[in-house]
Amino acid sequence: MKTDELVHTLAADTTSVAPRSLTPRLLLATAAAVVVWLALLIPIYGMPATAAPHGWFWMKNTYSLVLALVGLVAVVRLARPGGRVGWIAWIALAAVAALAMMAMRETMRAAPGEVVPLWLGQTWAICPVRILVVGAPMFVAAFWLLRRMAPTRPALAGAAAGFFAGAMGAATYGLYCQESAAAFVVVWYTLGIVICAGLGAGLGRWLLRW
């Protein structure tokens, strides 16, 4: 078939098309996932505030939500042809650096025998896994929606989707997590989120091509 003929065939498929926006869809899907998780968790563990009544309760969630916001902006940018992450990535690095500094301060103030518990907490082995599990529906939703877009850097777009899903998983799981040390969060939360991003990069390479 000649290219000319193809052009006419494609023109026959012209309908009025609205620009596709990703942000509202992704936010809606994410909110739905959070609601479903809360509907499952509240009957078992009670309301979040009573489940984890620590002074540092908001530290974990602010951290996760800042990373999620960076992930969201990155996904939305990378979803379109030619999209780049841009300076927003520095905000994620700044958040990690700020929390790492808080962790250092905690460590210096701690008595010698308290340092290791500060960094490992009670749940270090299971925390990243839980973040992965809680973030799974957000991960699926982000990939599902990205497949309808046109990322020209599929692996990077997948990594951003995984990063976003992991951070949202961490924010949701953080409502019930019993740990309260910045040292714990900066290592294990970040690890869980980075694993999600790595999975996203690997899958994006295959699933986000078009």
Partner: protein, 177 residues
């Protein structure tokens, strides 16, 4: 060059609003620009050039809802062309860098003369389900309007439009496999 950008963008916006004539004009013009761009990257007379032009036009058509009208048009089209070129190398297992140039290189040149295709889209189309194929052939070769073509298949025009769109999506997948 800015004239080309504003002209292309204008056609794109009219096409997005449902103007089939403007959309055909846009795809025709992009075909010429993509042909020149791919020929420069693949070398003159490369057999894959026209195949890539067709594949990219299909992608541009099917993904046109990812264009943000607040942004310039050329970088969007260039990113798709470059992506399709990279994807082409990757699928053939060729390790080749494709420099990220200014998007203006896409519209800096054009080649109107079509090369021969290696892969025949008509052949791929014959593998589509009968109704989808018949609709496309009626619209493309026999020159029927969508309404007429739909009537010949005893479908509503709305259903025919959906079927044509599905057929093109299927075709785009076949082109890449």
């Amino acid at each position: 060059m800015t004239d080309t950008e504003s002209g292309l963008k204008e056609m794109m916006l009219r096409g997005l609003a449902g103007d089939a004539g403007a959309h055909a004009q846009l795809l025709g013009a992009l075909g010429g620009h993509l042909r020149a761009y791919f020929a420069r990257r693949l070398g003159p007379g490369a057999a894959e050039t026209e195949d890539l032009v067709q594949e990219t036009l299909l992608a541009i058509h099917l993904k046109r809802d990812t264009y943000d009208p607040r942004q310039p048009f050329t970088p969007w089209a260039y990113a798709i062309g470059r992506y399709k070129l990279l994807d082409h190398f990757r699928r053939r297992g060729v390790r080749k860098a494709v420099p990220l140039e200014d998007a203006g290189v896409l519209i800096a040149a054009e080649t109107a003369e079509e090369g021969a295709t290696r892969r025949d889209l008509a052949q791929l189309m014959s593998e589509l389900p009968d109704r989808q194929r018949a609709l496309i052939e009626d619209v493309k070769i026999n020159g029927y309007s969508i309404e007429e073509a739909a009537g010949r298949q005893s479908m509503t025009p709305g259903a025919a439009k959906v079927a044509i769109h599905r057929a093109l999506q299927r075709l785009a997948r076949k082109v890449r496999s």
